[in-house]
C-alpha cells in the first residue's frame, strides 16, 4: 500500500468514526425525554392549559412525532450539511454561536499550541543533554509539577496572586479588545501560561526519555567525530527520530487539554470561548447548542487522531502501511 492510499484509507476510517459517534449521539438523545417538551408541558400546566396537548404541539414542532428512522436520516443530513439548528438561548444559529466561540478560543489556543510545540521538545532535549545534572532535575521537576497540578486550580492561584494581590493582570477578560493588540496579549498571558505548563510536562518527559536513547547512538558518535557542533547534532540528528514517538504524545496531550481543561480555564478567566458557550448552554438547557458543541469537539478529536496517525507515518519511513 502506498502512502497516498494509506492516507485515503485512514481518512475514510475517520469519517466512519464520526458517523458512528453521531449515531450514538442520536440514540442518546432519541431515547431520552426531551427537556424542552416537559418544559412546554410544565409551562402549559402553570398557565392553565392542557399539558399533554402542549407537549404534543412541542413534539410536533420539533419533528419528534416522526418515526425513528426518518428522524435519524434527518439528523444525519442536518449534521453533515452543518444545519445544526437554532440556539434558543443565544437567539442565533448554533453554527454562528460556535464560530463566535472559536474566535475567542483560537486567540489563546493557537499561541498555546505553538509555544508547547516549541518549548516542550527543546526543554526535553536540553534535559537529556544534561542528564542527571541539577539542570535536568530542575527541568523535570518543573515539568512534572506543571503536568500534575490541575489546570483550573493553577489558574485560580495565578489569578489570586497576579491579578488580585499584585494587580499585574486584569481580573476580567475584555472580549472587545482587538486580536493583535497589547491589551489582548496582556489579558491572555495567564491563560496561555497555565495551558502551556499543563501540556508541556508530558511532552518534555517523552522527548527527554526518547532522545536519551539516541544520544549515544552510533550516528551521534559519527557526527561528533566529524566535528558537527553539538547544537546541530542535537537539532538535526537527535530531534528527528525523537519526533516520531513524540508526535503521538503531542497531539494526544494537546487534545486532552483542549477537550477538558481549556473549558475550565475559560470559565476561570471569563473568556467567552467554546468552553464557556458549552457550559452556558448546559446551564440554560439549550439542547441544540449542547449537541452542536459536543459534535464539534468530537470532530476535532477525530481530526486530531487522524492528523496524528498521518504525521506519524510520514515521519517514520519504517512503519509499514499495512499494520497501522
Amino acid at each position: 500500500m502506498g502512502l497516498l492510499r494509506y492516507i485515503l484509507a485512514r481518512t475514510a476510517w475517520a469519517v466512519a468514526v464520526t458517523f458512528i459517534i453521531v449515531t450514538i449521539t442520536f440514540l442518546l438523545i432519541a431515547l431520552a425525554p426531551d427537556p424542552n417538551i416537559s418544559q412546554a408541558a410544565t409551562q402549559a400546566a402553570l398557565q392553565g392549559g392542557d399539558p399533554t396537548e402542549a407537549a404534543q404541539r412541542e413534539a410536533e414542532m420539533r419533528g419528534l412525532d416522526q418515526p425513528l428512522h426518518i428522524r435519524y436520516i434527518d439528523f444525519l443530513q442536518g449534521v453533515y450539511t452543518l444545519e445544526w439548528g437554532w440556539s434558543d438561548n443565544r437567539a442565533q444559529p448554533v453554527t454562528e454561536a460556535l464560530l463566535e466561540g472559536i474566535y475567542y478560543t483560537a486567540q489563546y489556543s493557537i499561541p498555546w499550541t505553538i509555544l508547547t510545540i516549541i518549548i516542550g521538545p527543546i526543554v526535553g532535549l536540553y534535559s537529556a543533554a544534561n542528564m542527571y545534572s541539577w539542570k535536568d532535575h530542575l527541568a523535570t521537576g518543573f515539568a512534572f509539577a506543571g503536568w500534575a497540578i490541575p489546570n483550573f486550580f493553577f489558574a485560580l492561584i495565578l489569578v489570586l496572586i497576579f491579578s488580585v494581590w499584585l494587580n499585574l493582570f486584569p481580573l476580567s477578560y475584555d472580549p472587545s479588545a482587538p486580536v493583535f493588540s497589547l491589551q489582548n496579549v496582556h489579558q491572555l498571558v495567564l491563560p496561555v501560561f497555565v495551558l502551556v505548563t499543563g501540556s508541556i510536562g508530558a511532552i518534555m518527559r517523552v522527548s527527554r526519555n526518547e532522545s536519551a536513547e539516541f544520544q549515544n547512538a552510533a550516528f551521534m558518535k559519527t557526527a561528533k567525530a566529524k566535528g558537527v557542533s553539538p547544537l546541530r547534532a542535537y537539532a538535526l540528528h537527535v530531534m528527528r527520530p525523537t519526533l516520531v514517538p513524540l508526535s503521538t504524545t503531542l497531539v494526544g496531550q494537546i487534545l486532552v487539554i483542549f477537550l477538558g481543561s481549556s473549558l475550565l480555564v475559560e470559565i476561570v478567566f471569563g473568556i467567552p470561548g467554546l468552553g464557556r458557550i458549552t457550559f452556558d448552554a448546559l446551564i440554560n438547557q439549550d439542547t441544540n447548542l449542547i449537541l452542536g458543541a459536543t459534535l464539534l469537539f468530537t470532530f476535532i478529536a477525530v481530526m486530531g487522531n487522524l492528523v496524528e496517525d498521518i504525521v506519524f507515518t510520514i515521519l517514520d519511513p519504517r512503519i509499514s502501511y499495512d499494520d497501522r
Binding site: V159, A212, A301, N305
Partner: protein, 422 residues
C-alpha cells in the same frame, strides 16, 4: 549486593514447600496446571470475602428501604439490634460503597496475595522501588489518603453547617473580623485567629475544611479503585482476546478500540449529564467504559510480543490449550506493565471528577475536593485556604500516582530504567 544471593537461595528452598527438600527436587503439585474452572487461592479469597459484600449489597438494594440505614435494618432482621446499638453500628453504605469494598477484596486477592506468595520477587521489587525516594513518599501519601478514605468517615463526622463559625482561619493564621460572622478562637487587634478545632479553617457555611477534605478522600479512593478495576477487566480481556484471535476479529476489535480512544469522554459526559442527569456512579461507569482503550491496545501489543517468546512455544508443544496459555502465562507476564499503565491513568479520572465538581455539575450528594475548590472560589482573596487545602491535596495525589507509576515501571522493568530513571 553480596549476601543477597544466599538469602535468595534459602528462600527458594523454603518456597518449594516448607519441608527440608533438596533444591533439585520439585513438588509438582505447586506447578500443576489447574483446569479451566479450578479454584485458585485468589479466587478463594474473592469468594470468601467478596460474597458477603455482594450479598449485603443485594440486600441493601432490594430489601432495605430508601430511608432506612442498612445496618439498622440488618440488626432488626437478624434480631441483633441490641448488640448493634451498643457497638454503635448504624452505618448506611450505598451501592458505590459496596462496589468499593468488593474492588478492595479483588485487589487483595489478585495483587496483594500474589505479592505475598512470591515473597522473593516482592522483596526484590521493594529493594528496587526503595531506591526511588519520591516514589516511596508518594506511596506513603497515597497510603494516608487510602486510610483516610476508608476509616475517615467513621472517625470524623460529615462537616455540618455552622453559620456562627463561617470563614474561620486555619491554625496559626488569621483573618480580618470584617469577613467572619463569629470567631471560635481568640481575637487580637481586630483579627480572628485559628484554633485546633478547625485545623484547616472553615468554609463560607462554617463547614470544617479538614473534615471535608477527609470525606473527599473516600470519593477519590472510590473513583481510583472502581474505575481501575473496570478498566483492567475490560482492557485485559479485550487486549488478550484480540491478540489471540488474530485476523479479522483482531482488526475489528482494534478498530473498535480506536473509536473508544477518539471519544471525547469529558464533553460527551456533559451531554449524558444534560440528558439523563448523572451521579458519581454514572460518572465512574461512563469514564471507565471509555477509558480502557489505551490499556487494551497496550495489553494487546504486550501479549503479541510475549506470545513470540520461546517458552510460550514450549508450553504450546507440551499441549497446553490457548485459554490456559493466556490465563497462566500471558496475563501474569504482562501484569507488571498493566499495573503501571493503570496507575498512570487514575490521575485522569480524578482530574475529570474534580473538573465536573468545580463546574458545579458533578454529584452534589457527595463531598469532593473539586466542590470545595468551587465553593471557595468567590472568597479566594480573603479566605484562600478553602481553595488551597483541597487543591493541594488533589495536586499531591495526582503527583503521587504519577511518581508511583514511574517507580513501578523502573522496579519491574530494569530495561526501561535507562529511559525513565531520573
Amino acid at each position: 549486593m553480596t549476601g543477597n544471593d544466599e538469602s535468595i537461595g534459602a528462600d527458594d528452598v523454603r518456597a518449594t514447600s516448607g519441608s527440608a527438600r533438596r533444591f533439585d527436587e520439585i513438588d509438582w503439585d505447586d506447578y500443576e496446571e489447574p483446569g479451566l474452572f479450578s479454584v485458585t487461592p485468589s479466587l478463594k479469597i474473592t469468594l470468601l470475602a467478596g460474597l458477603p459484600i455482594v450479598l449485603l449489597g443485594l440486600y441493601d438494594e432490594f430489601v432495605v428501604g430508601d430511608r432506612e440505614a442498612t445496618f439498622v435494618r440488618l440488626g432488626s432482621d437478624l434480631g441483633l439490634s441490641g448488640p448493634f446499638e451498643t457497638l454503635g453500628v448504624d452505618f448506611d453504605p450505598g451501592s458505590l460503597d459496596f462496589l468499593f469494598m468488593f474492588t478492595i477484596v479483588l485487589f487483595i486477592a489478585y495483587v496483594g496475595y500474589p505479592l505475598y506468595r512470591n515473597g522473593r520477587m516482592t522483596r526484590y521489587y521493594w529493594r528496587e522501588f526503595k531506591r526511588n525516594r519520591p516514589a516511596v513518599i508518594s506511596l506513603v501519601w497515597l497510603g494516608l489518603i487510602f486510610v483516610g478514605g476508608v476509616l475517615g468517615p467513621f472517625l470524623i463526622a460529615m462537616p455540618e453547617q455552622d453559620l456562627a463559625a463561617a470563614y474561620q482561619p486555619p491554625v496559626f493564621a488569621s483573618i480580618d473580623l470584617v469577613h467572619t460572622t463569629g470567631c471560635v478562637g481568640e481575637i487580637r487587634d481586630g483579627r480572628c485567629y485559628g484554633t485546633w478545632e478547625h485545623p484547616l479553617g472553615t468554609s463560607r457555611g462554617g463547614q470544617d475544611v479538614f473534615a471535608s477534605v477527609v470525606h473527599g478522600m473516600t470519593v477519590t479512593m472510590q473513583i481510583a479503585f472502581i474505575t481501575t478495576t473496570i478498566v483492567a477487566i475490560i482492557g485485559i480481556t479485550f487486549g488478550t482476546v484480540s491478540a489471540y484471535l488474530g485476523g479479522w476479529a483482531d482488526e475489528i476489535m482494534m478498530r473498535f478500540t480506536d473509536i473508544v480512544l477518539s471519544f471525547p469522554t469529558f464533553v460527551f459526559f456533559l451531554l449524558i449529564l444534560y440528558i439523563y442527569g448523572a451521579g458519581l456512579g454514572m460518572f465512574i461507569l461512563v469514564f471507565a467504559a471509555f477509558g480502557w482503550g489505551a490499556t487494551a491496545r497496550y495489553v494487546r501489543s504486550k501479549a503479541l510480543s510475549i506470545s513470540e517468546e520461546e517458552f510460550i512455544k514450549a508450553i504450546r508443544i507440551s499441549g497446553a490449550s490457548t485459554p490456559t496459555i493466556v490465563r497462566r502465562h500471558v496475563i501474569p507476564n504482562t501484569a507488571s506493565s498493566i499495573i503501571t499503565q493503570l496507575t498512570l491513568i487514575v490521575p485522569g479520572f480524578l482530574l475529570a471528577e474534580a473538573q465536573l465538581a468545580f463546574l458545579g455539575i458533578g454529584d452534589t450528594a457527595v463531598p469532593t475536593w473539586g466542590q470545595l475548590i468551587s465553593a471557595g472560589r468567590t472568597s479566594i482573596d480573603f479566605a484562600p485556604w478553602i481553595v488551597l487545602a483541597p487543591g493541594f491535596t488533589l495536586f499531591l495525589t495526582i503527583l503521587a500516582f504519577n511518581f508511583l507509576g514511574d517507580a513501578i515501571l523502573d522496579a519491574i522493568n530494569p530495561e526501561a530504567e535507562a529511559e525513565t530513571d531520573r
